[in-house]
Amino acid sequence: MTSLTQHLPNSVQSRLKALTSFALLFVSLSCFVRAGDGAYFVTYSQHMEEPGSLEVAPSFTLGMPRTSHKFLANLTEIEYGVNGWWTTELYLDSQKTFKDTAVFTGFRSEHRFRPLVNEHRVTPVIYFEYSRVNGAEKTLKEVVGFDSRADFDERNADSKAETKHELETKLILGSNYKGWNISENFIAEKVLNEDEPWEFGYAFGVSRPLRLSATSRECRWCRENFVAGVEFYGGLGTADDFTARGTSHYAAPVLAWRVSDAFSVRVSPTFGLNGKSIPYMTRFGVSYEIPRFDRQIRNLLR
């Protein structure tokens, strides 16, 4: 490899090295990862990360607002199961707007707690998130307040100057019924560094594997490896004006495919339901889960 690349310019050589390192990392991770199982992009279900497991899930949103340039936003999720009732996550946000710049838009740190020990008809999960994101953020991880597509009209250079420290809370309610997962999220968000009222939003999702029982043979295209569903989400105004009008709402079919024990992919064409919404977006993502990451780190350090 070295002899083949030594005649190449230094910049190309360093890129090749980076690509090779990434490929090696990918292959080595694939040896002991397990696919994540969630289908939703916005809605949270009651399911927690398994204790000691680490999930890395980059996802992308390609948005097509008619009043401004297209954008591709990235949300990279690193999720760790601290124990059976506590899951913690770190999100890194960035975006590239066509005919504009690419910017890192901030990070989020979230914690999910499951207060009840057993599964019930409706299982609650309490969610807290602190985020430090700038105004150029376009991942639409949730919709709250009076979020609308007009927020995407500003150029990155202007919008990224505004930084928000936000506290977000969610009440997540999830049920499993005859193979269906039904999840509802009630969102309350407060911008901590500005004198703004609490903002509210909702997310609702329904999904089901295409086949409920597993086949005995190893297979990639079995229906049991696919989960299909739909999610709805949108804003509910603020504490001063609690309303579903004047804010954006979306409907999004979702399809997840557990490609192998190594990873899964998800895709979701998303449709704006009113004039305040971005008319069309496509979301897609992959997720890698490393089971018992804690044990693997311990073994490495021994």
Binding site: R34, G84, A188, W198, A239
Partner: protein, 138 residues
């Protein structure tokens, strides 16, 4: 703190408290019902009406359960199911003497305080398949 901030916080806490109290009381009832049900050794479909214990198609269920075990359980309990660290040996009599319904419930609910996660994300049919496999380890 402004009134506009206090009101929604109060409403959220009130809503959460109401939901938790309601669920907790139904949880106690469900727990009592399942504990009583687990002692009934003959009835196999008492926990989830409409969910069929796959013992009737044992070979297929066991093979599927083995595949699911490898995907979801082997990381903690080991490929041989002999247990590791805090994960229990699934060949042990204390596990093998349990009724299938109790094993099924353990998979669905987990033992969250002891580190065993809930596998409710899997459909009941797949949990029954894992149960069928686990019962072959005796």
């Amino acid at each position: 703190m402004r009134d506009s901030m206090i009101r929604p916080i109060l409403w959220i806490f009130l809503a959460v408290a109401t939901v938790l109290v309601t669920l907790q009381s139904s949880a106690v009832r469900a727990h009592e019902a399942s504990a009583a049900g687990a002692q009934r050794t003959e009835s196999r479909d008492i926990l989830s009406p409409g969910v069929r214990n796959p013992s009737g198609e044992q070979e297929e269920a066991v093979a599927a359960g083995r595949k699911l075990y490898k995907a979801y359980c082997a990381h903690c309990h080991g490929v041989d199911a002999r247990g590791r660290d805090r994960a229990r040996n699934l060949h042990a009599p204390s596990i093998q003497n349990l009724e299938p319904e109790v094993l099924f419930l353990m998979l669905r609910n987990g033992k969250i305080r002891k580190g065993m996660p809930s596998w409710s994300r899997l459909p009941d049919q797949q949990l029954w398949q894992i149960t069928a496999y686990l019962k072959t380890l005796r």
